[in-house]
């Protein structure tokens, strides 16, 4: 380990060669990394971080362990089924590698304040859904602050590393806000989810999947109007399976099985230890390189196709383009002139409607009805008061978010 923290490297960043040696070794030991998700990718990331010189890892996951996790989520055993993933994983890592501290959280990522996330220079996400990815992407963008020349202040740039797998294929990316494309920039490139047309399902079914979709999307609500479908309940899934089977016989369609029923209804994505290991570890290598300056950064997206008919494996490294009209990371700057004695409510008339105005990651003004009341008292304060309370930094632009974009709000004082 020490050889890549000590020796001169002509192929690494200046940061590395400047601080290599004892300084670097000690610095690495004080860095904290946040891992979101303690599932297939998360378990691997935790293990590899712990064996790469990271001494403190925080991990968030509100899921509990399911039997079908055990073929790849190697920190869990049969006896752990039903327990919180984050807690079991943290305990396992600390027992095996006592020099590493792992702090688990079993809450939704949306329940943590921005100040929580700002403690981590790197956030690694092993998530399984688009919404959570978009949310954490927004967080790393919101954390960025700019100096008087509108340049990003280095310390406020937090990296997001994101991985995902499907069967033998997977991908990983490094998001450096305002430098690389962000998650939102590339959202339109997501593969469309397979959906069956309702008219096919209802009147001309041909595949076993069509029969299952009919039982699931039409029959359940019709015949069990008062029961909420629980996809993890065997009786519920078996009901759908039996109904689908009945329908398939009626139409002479073969191939409805219980396993296929689960696959269709739960939209099960095949998963295996090997793919998780390689994608998670690529993410961890990127994290290590960010923290130590070793090598150069993945710029910024790698695709791995373990299922490749021609060459066995297909590997592409792609530099994703930033989207000019990205709703998260395209920047517009608004200059506003005020007096220090003005109440900040004067901004209400000068900003577009439906915005959320933030300073240092703290909300000042919001139009969100649900949250609005909590912030009304701030509207009564003057700019000077907020500066005194250190809620506003005179040097730094405020940030306004609306549904479509981020706006830098530069306040000039008379």
């Amino acid at each position: 380990m020490n050889s890549i923290l000590n020796t001169f490297s002509p192929l690494s960043k200046d940061l590395y060669n400047e601080y290599r040696g004892q300084v670097m070794i000690e610095a690495l030991a004080t860095q904290k990394v946040l891992v979101i998700g303690a599932g297939g990718l998360g378990c691997e990331i935790l293990k590899t971080l712990a064996l790469s010189g990271i001494k403190e890892i925080h991990v968030i996951d509100l899921d509990t362990i399911d039997l079908t996790n055990l073929n790849r989520q190697f920190l869990f055993r049969m006896k752990d089924v039903g327990k919180y993933k984050a807690e079991v994983a943290a305990e396992f890592i600390m027992k095996r590698i006592p020099t590493c501290k792992v702090i688990p959280y079993t809450k939704k990522i949306q329940e943590f304040p921005i100040s929580f996330y700002s403690e981590f220079p790197v956030i690694i996400a092993g998530l399984d859904n688009v919404e959570a990815r978009r949310w954490i992407n927004r967080v790393v963008i919101q954390m960025v602050q700019r100096d008087e020349n509108d340049k990003v202040i280095d310390d406020t740039r937090h990296y997001l590393i994101d991985g995902g797998t499907e069967g033998l294929n997977g991908q990983a990316r490094v998001i450096s806000p305002f430098e690389t494309a962000c998650y939102e920039c590339t959202l339109s490139q997501l593969p469309k989810q397979l959906q069956y047309q309702m008219c096919t399902i209802a009147s001309t079914p041909r595949l076993p999947e069509h029969c299952i979709a009919y039982a699931y999307e039409v029959l359940w609500s019709k015949e069990q109007p008062n029961v909420k479908l629980d996809k993890d309940n065997f009786d519920h899934m078996n009901w759908i399976y039996q109904k689908a089977l009945e329908r398939s016989k009626q139409f002479n369609i073969e191939g409805v099985t219980y396993k296929l029923t689960l696959g269709v209804v739960k939209n099960i994505i095949p998963a295996v230890a090997s793919t998780n290991a390689l994608i998670a570890s690529i993410c961890t290598v990127e994290c290590f390189k960010i923290l130590t300056g070793n090598g150069s950064q993945l710029n910024n997206y790698i695709q791995w196709y373990g299922q490749n008919h021609q060459t066995g494996v297909g590997i592409n490294v792609i530099q994703q383009e930033r989207l000019e009209e990205c709703t998260e990371c395209s920047i517009q700057t608004l200059e506003i002139l005020v007096k220090r004695t003005d109440k900040i409510s004067v901004l209400l008339t000068q900003l577009p409607p439906d915005i959320e105005l933030c300073s240092k990651g703290q909300t000042l003004i919001t139009n969100n009805i649900r949250r609005k009341q909590g912030f009304d008292h701030i509207l009564e304060k003057t700019f000077q008061e907020l500066i005194d309370e250190q809620l506003i930094d005179v040097q730094t632009a405020l940030k306004a978010f609306d549904k479509n974009k981020t706006i830098n709000v530069r306040i000039n004082y008379e």
Binding site: S3, E44, L70, R72, D232, K259, N294, H309, G312
Partner: protein, 480 residues
């Protein structure tokens, strides 16, 4: 809980028969350095049958720093014993044994796979994965004495729909369909019928069938569109489905490759795959086309039409071809394998691997490379030669870099490369043979994918080397 199978998520990738192969497999791990252990971890989890671990050393401090399956309180114990114990602790379905020996004789034994972990292994009787990590760089080398894959599982499945030259019953059906009727009828004509009719129309107008790319995708497309002229757009889904599947109108001749890649061998009887290939040869001679596979895609049409096409027309032909093909196999192959073979006839693949000895003596030259991986390959060969001479790895000391540079020059001449940037030579000297867990973990993930391919005989394994460059997060495949 809705599923009681802990292997559910992976059986969806390689099927129950793939899982059975995995559960019956014996794997030998030579050496307990992290990269091979990580590979084996990803095989123990999905339920590999039996593992044999061989290593002569005892646990030291450095093992604890880079190996997850060597805990801190095992110093002084046999590495093989510790690694086996902590790997098997993960999955009770897996059994195994360990040996603390220097040289392990594999001659009289059978292994489905041998993992040569940070060491060379040149026995050519078994499937082999050789692994090396060096600082931020990794190398994986595959070898298989015989690699014929039936279930190659391409991402986009090809179908054999016989639109271009339909068998008798299918032709009669195609000809019986008229393009006249109400919207409901027209919008439910299956796309295979549309493609057939468009081919006939094209031929009638131009006196030939479309053959170039532009003829197929421009002129022929226009003919398809002419068939739905006057139909409102919302009713033309099936016609656009036909356009999306234009390539299906022309017979795939991929199966011919598999005939060419296999020479007629004298020991045909010894191997099921040769029996199948020779049966295919005979079948094509008799019938003019390969046996029809079962795979049939979804297409917009009435349920009755679909069931009739799939089960009656195609289904009957599939069964007839199967019987005829089965007779040609002379009871040397089981029915299930025959069916698999016929289903995959368009995508069969055979790989002949160069042996490791051949590569060591003379690697293949690479002409185009678009990243640093080839450079790292030459450098890995060079540091390995340095080690063989000095019994230690090179450092950034002047004497070492000079000696290494001479070896690098020699290795470059061997593969006709002018020179290697000095920066890369200095970079590799800084690693001093470091085996980093994170690089081992990346390569172990990649290697276990290939291991599963070799063991289950599904998917296409690499031929034959993968270089991973962690400095830049890039990887490339070479045939050396």
């Amino acid at each position: 809980m809705s599923s009681n199978d802990k292997y559910d998520r992976q059986v969806r990738i390689w099927g129950p028969h793939g899982q059975t192969k995995l559960q019956n497999a014996r794997v030998l791990l030579l050496g307990c350095d992290p990269v091979g252990v990580e590979t084996l971890k990803n095989l123990v989890l999905p339920g590999i049958g039996y593992v044999v671990i061989v290593d002569s050393k005892v646990v030291t401090e450095s093992d604890i720093e880079n190996n997850f399956f060597i805990p801190h309180d095992t110093i002084g114990q046999s590495r093989a014993k510790v690694v086996l114990e902590y790997l098997l602790e993960m999955n009770q379905d897996v059994k195994g044994e360990w040996h603390q020996v220097e040289n392990f004789d594999v001659k009289e034994q059978h292994y489905d796979l041998i993992i040569a972990n940070e060491q060379r292994f040149s026995e050519t009787k078994f499937n082999l994965i050789e692994l090396q990590t060096y600082g931020l760089v990794g190398r994986m080398r595959l070898y298989s004495p015989k690699c014929h894959i039936i279930e190659t599982k391409p991402m986009n499945q090809k179908y054999d729909l016989r639109i271009f030259n339909p068998f008798q019953e299918l032709k009669e059906y195609f000809d019986s369909i008229e393009f006249e009727g109400d919207v409901d009828y027209l919008s439910h004509i299956p796309y295979i019928v549309i493609l057939y009719k468009a081919l006939q129309k094209y031929h009638k107008e131009k006196g030939k069938y479309p053959s170039t790319f532009s003829e197929k995708h421009k002129d022929f497309k226009q003919v398809i569109l002419s068939l739905c002229e006057g139909l409102e757009y919302q009713y033309t889904g099936n016609f656009y489905e036909a356009i999306d599947n234009i390539d299906q109108a022309f017979n795939s001749e991929n199966w011919k490759n598999s005939l060419e890649s296999i020479e007629i061998e004298q020991d045909v009887n010894e191997d099921q795959y040769f029996v199948l290939i020779s049966a295919l040869r005979q079948f094509v001679q008799i019938h003019g086309a390969p046996p029809l596979g079962k795979a049939f895609p979804d297409m917009k049409c009435f349920t009755q039409t679909y069931v009739h096409l799939k089960n009656t027309l195609y289904g009957t032909k599939v069964e007839k071809d199967f019987q005829a093909f089965q007779a040609l196999c002379q009871n040397k192959v089981d029915d299930e394998t025959i069916r698999l073979f016929i289903e995959n006839i368009q995508d069969l693949k055979s790989i002949t691997y160069r042996t490791i000895q051949q590569e060591l003596q003379q690697p293949n030259e690479v002409e185009d490379y678009d990243n640093d991986c080839y450079i790292w390959y030459i450098l890995l060969r060079s540091v390995n030669e340095f080690y063989n001479t000095n019994n230690r790895w090179p450092t950034q000391e002047k004497g070492d870099t000079q000696q290494l540079q001479e070896i690098v020059d020699k290795q470059c001449r061997l593969v006709n490369v002018d020179s290697i940037p000095e920066t890369h030579v200095i970079e590799i000297c800084r690693y001093e043979g470091a085996k980093l867990h994170m690089i081992a973990s990346v390569l172990g993930g990649m290697a276990s994918q290939e291991a599963v391919k070799l063991i289950t005989n599904q998917f296409v394994p690499i031929n034959n080397t993968l270089i991973y460059n962690g400095l830049k997060s890039e990887a490339s495949i070479f045939e050396f």
